[in-house]
Each structure stands twice: as C-alpha cells, then as structure tokens.
Symmetry: C2
Subunit: 470 residues, 2 copies
C-alpha cells in the first residue's frame, strides 16, 4: 500500500513519540542550492525505532531521507523532488555509549556530533582525530555516511579509516550488528565500508566504534611561505622524510585567499608584512625527546636551503598556533563573503597538482576575468578550487559561463587521474557528474548493489544514483 | 550451455595460449587440509584475457577459482568439491607497472609478489609496508583479496589500508577501471573495499595502486621481557604515548614458543639466559633528531619503573635486529615441527586479551594435557592461539577432542567481542564458523550482494559463503 506522509495512517504506524515538528531546519542544506520537501520528520530514540520506521516506510513505499547535522555540501540531506519523504533525523541518538582509553576506541551513536566525540576522547586523554570546520554540528552518522575528510586525513585517514565497526539498519528494516572494536576481522564482505560513503542510500548507520589516537607528546604549528604549489609539495616530501609520519596537517593557502581575508576580516592578524603568493600551514605531532619548535625550525632551514621556503613563522604558544589555524579556517568564511562563481572539491595525484594549477589557471584566464582561490588539504591531493568574480564584478555576470567553467575544470582534473568529488561526496549535486565521468562498469555494479539491498528504492532516492538510472 | 572443463569445446573458446599444464602446484594449499580438483589452469596475460575467460566460464557455467601465490591458510585457493573448476592463475600478470616516489604510490599487477613490490619501493627510496612471512610467494592480488595483515598493521594498516585503487574483472566479464592514485575520492560506493577481502567471490582483482611510505629516518628493534600479556599491553600503551605513532610492530612471543624454538632450532641464538614467560618484540621508526636506541632505552626504563619489564635487549646493528626478528619469524616453523592440534587466528578488543588468555588457559587445562603457544600481533589484538600435544604425546591422541577445543576457544573469543578470523579470512575452512557466528543480517546482505554481482555463482563457489546457503 502506497501512503503519502500526509496520510494519518502512516503516522499511526510509526513508533509512538518519534514525530517532530516539520521546520525549515529539516529541509534546508548548507549551500542553499536545494530546498527539501517537507513530509514527516521522525527522530527515533534507538536502533529498534529506526528499524520500525524503515519497515513502515518500506511497506508504505515512502522514501526516507536520513539527516545528521545537515552540514553536507552536496544536497544529500534534502529531497527536493519525487514523492514527499519521511525525514529521519538521528538527533536523539546522540550518546557517547562507551569509551575505552586502553583500546583507543570510542563507541558513539550516529547523532552525536563530531565535537562530542572529540571532547569525550580529550576527556580520556586521547584524541578523536577527525577535524573539520563543521565539527560542532556535523554528526558521526553523517561524517561516516559521507566519508568526511578534514585537516588531519594526511596522518589519520578519512572518516572511513577511523571506523572499526558499525551498527546499521538495512533497508529491510533489520539491524546489522557489527559494532566491533577490532583492528583485524576478516570474516566476510566489508559491508561497513560499503555503508560508509553510501550517503544513506543503502541503510542507516545508527552507531559506530571509532578509532582514537594517542595525543602526540610534542606538537607544533608553522606557516611557511613558498613560491609555488610545486615548492609546497617538495617541502611536504622533505617534511615526511624527516618526521616519520609526524606531519598531522599540511594545508595550502593562496595569496588570493589571504587577500579575501584582508578584505573581509581586516581585524584578523596576518603573519606576513608583504602578501605571499602561497603559504603552507603545517602541524606536526612528534615523539617524546623532540621539541616541536626545533623540528619545525629544522624543516624551515632544510626548506630554505633547498630554495623552497622564503619566510615563515613558527607558533610560540598554543594561542599563536590557534591564530595560524584561524587564518586557514576563516578562508571558507571569506569565500562566502566574496561569493563564488563556482566551487570545486577536487583531488589529484600529488605529482599532477602543480601542472593542473598551472594549466587550469591558463584555461580560465582565456575564458574571462576572474579570481581563483585555490586552497585545501595539499597533503591529501585535495584542493578546493574556487572561482570568484574579478574585483568590482558580480557573480551574476558569470551566470552564463558558470557551468561551462566547472565542466572544463572537472575535465582537466579527470584527464590527470583526479576526482570531481574528493571529500564532499556525490549527494544530489554531482549525480550527473558521476554518471558522466564514473566508470560504467563500476556504476552498473553500484546499481546492482542498490537494487539488491534496497529493492523498493526507499533509501534517500536520488542521492548518489539517479532514480531513473536504476 | 554447461560445459565440463575436460570438454575441448571450453578450451577452444578461451584466449589462445592461456592454458597451462595442470600440476599439483595448482591444487594444493599451504596446510594440506584440502586438495583441489584439477580442471583447467588458465594464466591470462592481461585484464582483457581475464575478462574473456570469465565471459566464457559464465556462459559455460564453469566455476572459477582464482589463484595467487597459493599461501592462504583457509583453503580459499582450491575447490575440493562441486563441478571441476577452471583455475585462474595470475602468475603471468606480475609487472610493477609504475612507481611514483613523489606520490608514495606504486602500481602493481595482481600476480606480482609482495616482495617484488617491497623491492620496487626500496629501489625508489621508499617502503611498501605490508610484511608477512610468505611475502616472497604471496601475490598482490591474493593479499588484497584476503585483506592480509602481517607485522606492520599496527602502524600502516592491513592490505585494505594500503590500497588506493583497483582494476578488477567483475563476474559479468567486464573490467572495472578504478586504478586511482588518490587519497580522497568520494564518488559512490566503495567497491574497492568490497572486492578487497571478498576472496575472489565477487570478481578478480587484476591490478592495484598501492601506498608506499617514507622510510623513517631512525629505526630500531628491541626484545623486552614482560611478566604477562597484560604487562605487554600496558607497555604498548606507554610506547604509543611516547612514540607518537612511531611503533611499527609490537609482537607477543610466549615462553612456550621459545621452548619450541630451542627444541627444533637449537642453533638459533636466544637472547635471554633463563627462559622468560613472555617477551615482546618491538620495532620503532622515528623522526630525524631522535636516536632509536635511546628511544628504546627510554621505553625500557619507563617500562621497568612501571614494573612491566624485567629484562631486555636492544639491537645494536641491523644484523642483531634481523636476529631478533628471526626468533619471531621462526615460531611458525617450530610450530609446524611440533605439529599443532588446532590453530586459531583470533582477534580481541585489546582490553579483553589478558582475560581471554587467562580464562582460555584454565578452560583448556580442564580438557586435557596440552601446550599452548600464544603469539602474534599484540598491537592489533591479533593472536595466533595454537594448541599442541603435551610433551611425549602425539596429535592423533587429541583427534577426538580437536573440534570441540576449537569450538570452545572460538566461543570464548566471540563472547568477548572478538573474531574467529583476524587476518586469514574465511576461505573454505571457516564457512561454517561464519554461518554459525556471523550476524544473520550481515550474512543475508552478503548473500544478496553475491547474488547481485555473480548471479551464476561462478566465482570461487564455496568460499566465504556456502553454495547451499545462497
């Protein structure tokens, strides 16, 4: 029987007390590109209630949109088209269930925020190393479902690498209990990694056992001026050879980004008197017996001798370190203030980055007068390659060429073996891109798996895979 | 049309020149528990030929057993029952296709040995960190298909964590091209990790892009005497806090293992005059600016002060380090010489290990007079928990209680949240175990995926999932 969420018979079948008021908070997404339909909002209290909701929706053929913190950037958390959905919010399943300092493991429910997990780990003298700008709002279920990245991927891996086990409700309405705290478990297909990054289209992650890491005995932060992205990459190589895995973050910032900060955050103190073309922000975490400042100084010297580094500042206190990080973290805010024509969350093989930045810059210069703010997680090969109007011009003036620009950028990325979605996922924004550029055999296998696990197509329909293509 | 491999019509359809003589090398497995059927042996030269073979076999409904180095320990590489198979050996696809030192990436074909990849990385001033006793024979396709572990998982992860992308032939006979060299790529379902660890039941991995790591500036090896597994774990915790991720290996060795070595390798020099109850072998790789020996000495002191370490030796040369490692690596050989009643490749949450070793020892003492050699990758929670006849007795005397012992050991492992297969996989040996102890919802999802990707059931039938249960 097909029911509409507006039909009281649907609500009557749901577990008691799960329904929430439908507000715009549940139908908006971070970039304002999509507006979700308002069906019902259900906020279950445990995985049993999640399972009951899925069973009801499967029977009534009501689509389900899972919702975490809602910070995703590709529209995976809203359903603007098709039949009105039930929005399944994990907000009430927000417990840190257990913490095992001796195992470096933390068990969190899907609705706990990343910050909650970080705080719980810190309380136990450990760290939960997933760190991203939205961590105060982003939820564990969301960062797993999108395999989120952030600034510490270089050292600790993305969300997938930080997850040992999951509890999940499959589209059948059954609970898969695989919440193990094991580093090694070779007992069949890796369904954990299949659900991670599936953006809620294959099931609902309800809890996870997550990896904590020891807090390094010594840590430090520096911002170094480099001549080019190529110099930055050679500096990274030197850093990794010297630090034996001790490089926790290696972020690229362009002079354009520093200009944007200057323009929109004039009170933010910038460390260099004359505006550099490129800087890198490096954080290291080192063993006992080393002094982080000295290690960073040694890197600065080695980089200078190699002709890679022309200036630099090493944080002398926790506050200075935070100030350097603020420069990096405020760039997305400055970007929003300027207003991008187009944003690209791309990744490239490391040895293709310098050539891409050179060629893409030349290609775009031919297409119009604009500013490029290229920044991001250089150590992972992940750039946020964003295009902005030339000074004095508006986004609207670029509306006609916008999609052509993105297409051309992505084509160049793909020609160099890169990806059109490094850390944000596919959501609804990039479904057509995946269909265009994804390997067709891989896509066919994805569709076969979707059909096998979610034969009624109720799980976040239209995300990752288009409904029509199944 | 169903064809028998003996039928000339099948051979006539295969790509020219792929057939090899059927020898016992293709029908044996490392432990001698299974003997495979001899159908045909095909050794394709490229992924196009692999695809052609799969298409022919799908049409003729001939099962395929993929074969790498044949070093697997659970019978995944032989098909003792059912229709005679085509054995697909990757031995001719053994090229290191490309090496990218600046990216820390190496592209290897499935038939290249682990040692080849290690040598190629070393030649480029890097390391390929997968390290296991069988690395001279084990092939890249095999270690990925089984998600192999080894001694460096603690620092660098298992085979899955070392793979960025794969080229694979799916059961449909189509080539999935996903050989990316990217640290981040969130464009759809994680089919790479699904094929990794699927033991050839969902397709054939034909090539992979693999992660290399910088060689640490400083490295060192020590063997320390500890009173108990619990003391060993507390020492690990101290080591990790001091070394900031610099612990590359942390292996547990029992006094029983040292006795076995003494008995069967009397020429192997053991470092301690009186036989310890337990020792740990620790390897560290550290940043420039530290001296590994001093760091290990510092750990020894800290461990002594905490009452955890009573004696120890720190290797003073590369040769001494190799000698200490030989002690660890020769234990499996000594075990074979003694002849095990039963072997268990188990993993446990770290905080459950000490309790398990205590309780399992007590339980087994009640069941008969035997020797327990418990050793392995303690840092990963992965123990090889092997049972041997009491001195002067033979395996045959334990034949009646053998399976009961294993069942009881596994039950205790599972009750503590552990796994009955940490790094060896399921193969054919542990299919019944997976059916008994695996989460039924997870198993059902595995079967649905198997059915979706391999509807004819030709890919390594009987491995991981029983044929009957699909």
């Amino acid at each position: 029987m097909t029911l509409n969420p507006a039909d009281d018979r649907l609500a009557a079948r749901l577990p008691q007390g799960v329904l929430r008021e439908v507000t715009s908070a549940y139908t908006e997404e971070a970039r304002g590109l999509f507006t979700g339909q308002a069906g019902l909002v259900a906020a279950p209290r445990d995985s049993g209630e999640v399972a009951a909701i899925l069973r009801v929706c499967a029977e009534a053929q009501v689509p389900i949109v899972p919702r975490g913190g809602g910070t995703g950037l590709v529209g995976g958390q809203v359903m603007p088209e098709g039949p009105a959905p039930l929005i399944l919010s994990l907000e009430r399943m927000n417990a840190i269930r257990e913490i095992y300092p001796d195992e470096n493991v933390i068990l969190a429910e899907a609705g706990a925020t990343v910050q909650q997990a970080r705080d719980a780990a810190a309380g136990a003298g450990r760290q939960f190393p997933l760190s991203l700008a939205s961590q105060g709002t982003a939820q564990i279920g969301g960062v797993l479902s999108t395999n989120a990245g952030g600034v510490n991927v270089l050292r600790y891996g993305n969300a997938r690498a930080l997850c040992l086990g999951i509890e999940a409700v499959l589209p059948s309405g059954e609970i898969m209990r695989d919440l193990k705290r094991l580093r090694k478990d070779n007992t069949g297909y890796d369904l954990r990694d299949l659900l991670i990054g599936a953006e809620g289209t294959l099931g609902i992650i309800t809890a996870a056992s997550l990896v904590m890491a020891p807090v390094p005995a010594e840590s430090g932060v520096a911002m170094l001026v480099v001549e080019s992205p190529d110099a930055a990459l050679r500096l990274l190589s030197i850093a990794q050879a010297r630090m034996a895995g001790g490089v926790s973050a290696f972020e690229l910032i362009s002079g354009v980004g520093l200009d944007f900060l200057q323009e929109h955050f004039p009170n933010l103190r910038q460390p260099f008197a004359s505006r550099p073309k490129w800087v890198v922000l490096i954080e290291v975490g080192l063993p006992a017996g080393l002094v982080a400042d000295e290690a960073l100084e040694g890197l600065f010297m080695a980089g200078s001798e190699a002709g890679l580094v022309s200036d630099g500042v090493i944080a002398q206190s926790g506050q200075q370190a935070a100030e350097l990080w603020n420069i990096r973290e405020d760039i997305p805010h400055a970007n929003r203030a300027v207003g991008a024509i187009a944003s690209h969350d791309i990744s490239l093989p490391l040895s293709e980055i310098a050539g891409f930045i050179r060629d893409a810059g030349a290609m775009l210069a031919d297409r119009g007068d604009m500013r490029i703010n290229c920044f991001g997680h250089l150590g992972d090969g992940n750039l946020h390659y964003n295009l902005f109007p030339a000074a004095g011009r508006t986004r609207a003036e670029y509306a006609d060429i916008r999609s052509g620009l993105s297409f051309a950028v992505h084509e160049m990325v793909l020609a160099r073996g890169g990806s059109f979605s490094a850390e944000h996922g596919v959501g609804r924004l990039k479904v057509a891109d995946l269909e265009r550029w994804g390997d067709p055999v891989r896509l066919a296998a994805m569709r076969a798996i979707k059909q096998a696990l979610d034969p009624h197509g109720i799980m976040n329909p239209g995300a990752v895979l288009s409904c029509a293509s199944r």
